[in-house]
């Protein structure tokens, strides 16, 4: 290990982050600045912050490792990430969400939906779900960063985890969203560089695009017997339709995360920070390139690690990683890259971890201070409450990161994204596209979305129900229903139920007051500015 070189890189890196956070701290004068960066963030900074928050070590380490096991099928997820997460989200959702948030003077997703539907229940319930369940996702992102530090610096995993958590808590608590977004934009630049080098190096190592894929196709006979029985047909082919692996990969990993991105509180918050539709349009260009380089690279490199490891060690990736899916990408990078690049990738992955955890802990702190405490009329300094939320969120994530088992990153991420999609997405789409949604329709949609999802994870979906053990304790069997329900992600049925509840109950119940709905939709669906005299709320 080249300690002087590593020390120089880390000092420069942490110095720049500290300076950017300091700028954010200096510019944070109000709760509005802390929560939504004063709603005046340039589009290019928003896009870089969105992309780097979106893509974490979970995507690069966890899902990249899963691609090393399941193959190129996971690229359906990176396609959805770009198509839904960038094109659809920025072009169709971003502008109405930011306008409605400004119309209703709200600065979190939960409070936006609560005000839109005139329901305190929606605000505190979504806030509570975020506060209680988001640490599962924050925890695995921490694990991803710590695993790479462990592998590349030969550092103790627990020490790496603790050091990462302390750095992140300081940045979030200090600079608010402005500091986070400035630092995110810088870190996104390091991620672009690191991932572009990884993509080019990998295809070059395996002999080019077509030859690399052909080599991997020729290795299909090396797929472990247990995976073949589950429906694995090789790393360059889709799993057998309807097999356990097909259901896991398509329903949980691809659909759960691919759809769930549209309802991620930490990403939706980014829309509230820009001052114009033009900023969102510009963000599409930058966001598309970033997501391709981040997820596209991870899901192309993951399967191709098998070619590299087989040629160099005679083993496939999961064997080299000793059965821990989360170690495939760290092992590969440490094996294929020269030492100087490993430090660059360490900074890349640290950036991926910090940017996402920053965003998650910021949202958790906002959920605590704005959605829970303010809704429950706890009167105290809002910035103090937000910083207490940072401390609680960080401690919760670290505790979970210590508790969670190996190979958990991709699965826990899919859990969080899926539960958000079922609980929030129908109510969010209804809020911005259908004036006829009623309070009762939205309340039941949110409650059923979360409720059915949680029921599915505890009693039906084997990956969670078996380790939880609650179903076994109550009913004497690990899951209530047989295959395929043991492998169908709860998102599949919970989002149908929550969507149906939103529509049916809204058609049967009393609409919201007309003037309130008109206020919500003011300026939405047209390009013009608000009537003279109205100002953006800052």
């Amino acid at each position: 290990m080249n300690i002087p070189l590593l020390a120089i890189i880390l000092v420069i890196y942490i110095g720049v982050l500290t300076y950017l956070s300091y700028i954010g701290y200096r510019q944070t004068k109000s709760a509005e600045d802390y929560m939504v960066a004063g709603r005046q963030m340039p589009g290019w900074i928003m896009a870089l912050a969105y992309a780097s928050t979106f893509i974490s070590t979970s995507a690069i380490i966890g899902f990249g490792g899963a691609a090393g096991v399941f193959g190129f099928t996971l690229m359906w997820l990176s396609f959805l990430n770009m198509f839904l997460g960038i094109l659809i989200a920025f072009i169709f959702l971003g502008d109405p969400i930011r306008r409605m948030s400004n119309n209703l003077k709200t600065n979190t997703l939960a409070s936006l939906l609560g005000e839109r539907y005139q329901s305190k229940f929606i605000t505190w319930f979504i806030g509570l779900m975020i506060f209680l369940l988001m640490p599962a996702y924050t925890g695995v992102v921490l694990i991803g960063g710590a695993r790479f530090v462990q592998e590349s610096l030969k550092m103790d995993f627990n020490m790496a985890l603790l050091a990462l958590a302390v750095i992140i808590a300081l940045y979030v608590g200090w600079g608010g969203l402005k500091g986070i977004m400035y630092a995110d934009a810088f870190m996104c630049g390091t991620m672009i560089l690191g991932m572009a080098i990884l993509l080019i190096t990998t295809y070059s190592v395996v002999g080019g695009v077509t030859d690399g894929h052909k080599a991997l196709t020729g290795m299909a006979k090396l797929v472990p017997e247990s995976l073949v029985k589950g429906g694995h047909m090789g790393w360059t082919a889709m799993p057998k339709l309807g097999s356990p692996i097909w259901w896991t990969v398509i329903s949980t990993i691809v659909m759960g995360v691919g759809i769930g991105v549209l309802a991620q509180p930490q990403l939706i918050l980014r829309f509230l920070t820009v001052p114009s539709k033009q900023a969102l349009n510009r963000a599409v260009l930058i966001g598309g390139i970033c997501i391709f380089l981040f997820t596209g690279t991870a899901f192309m490199v993951g399967p191709l690690t098998n070619v590299f490891f087989y040629e160099t060690t005679g083993k496939i990736s999961i064997a080299v990683a000793k059965g821990n899916v989360d170690m495939i990408i760290p092992s590969y990078i440490n094996a294929v890259m020269p030492p100087a690049y490993i430090y660059l990738f360490m900074v890349t992955l640290l950036s991926a971890a910090i940017t996402t955890i920053n965003g998650l802990i910021h949202v958790q702190s906002a959920a605590f201070s704005r959605d829970l405490m303010a809704t429950w009329n706890v009167k105290t300094n809002p910035l103090l409450l937000a910083r207490i939320g940072v401390a609680i969120g960080t401690i919760g994530a670290v505790i979970l990161a210590y508790i969670l088992p190996i190979s958990v990153i991709a699965r826990a991420t899919a859990f969080w994204f899926g539960i958000c999609a079922a609980g929030i997405l129908p109510a969010l789409l209804g809020a911005i596209f259908w004036k006829g949604v009623t309070k009762q329709g939205a309340v039941w949609s949110v409650a059923l979305g979360y409720g059915v999802s949680i029921f599915g994870f505890i009693f039906l979906h084997a990956a969670e129900a078996v380790p939880f053990g609650i179903c076994k304790a109550i009913f004497g069997k690990p899951t209530l229903l047989p295959f395929p329900w043991t492998h169908v992600d709860p998102l599949f049925y919970s989002i149908v139920i929550s969507s149906a509840a939103l529509v049916i109950i809204s058609l049967l119940t009393k609409p919201l007051p007309r003037d309130h709905v008109e206020k919500c939709f003011r300026g939405i669906g047209r390009q013009s500015r608000p009537p003279s005299g109205e100002q953006v709320v800052t």
Partner: protein, 38 residues
């Protein structure tokens, strides 16, 4: 195609590149559109 074992996997590889290009083209065409304020 592209050395993949089935058409779906080739298709998704191409769709990834196409989606990225679509984002770039859309962003470039709309760079100065959409107004610069509320």
């Amino acid at each position: 195609m592209l050395g993949m074992a089935d058409g779906w996997t080739s298709l998704v590889w191409i769709l990834n590149v196409a989606a990225m290009i679509l984002c770039v083209v859309y962003g470039a065409i709309h760079w100065n559109k959409g107004g610069d304020g509320w």
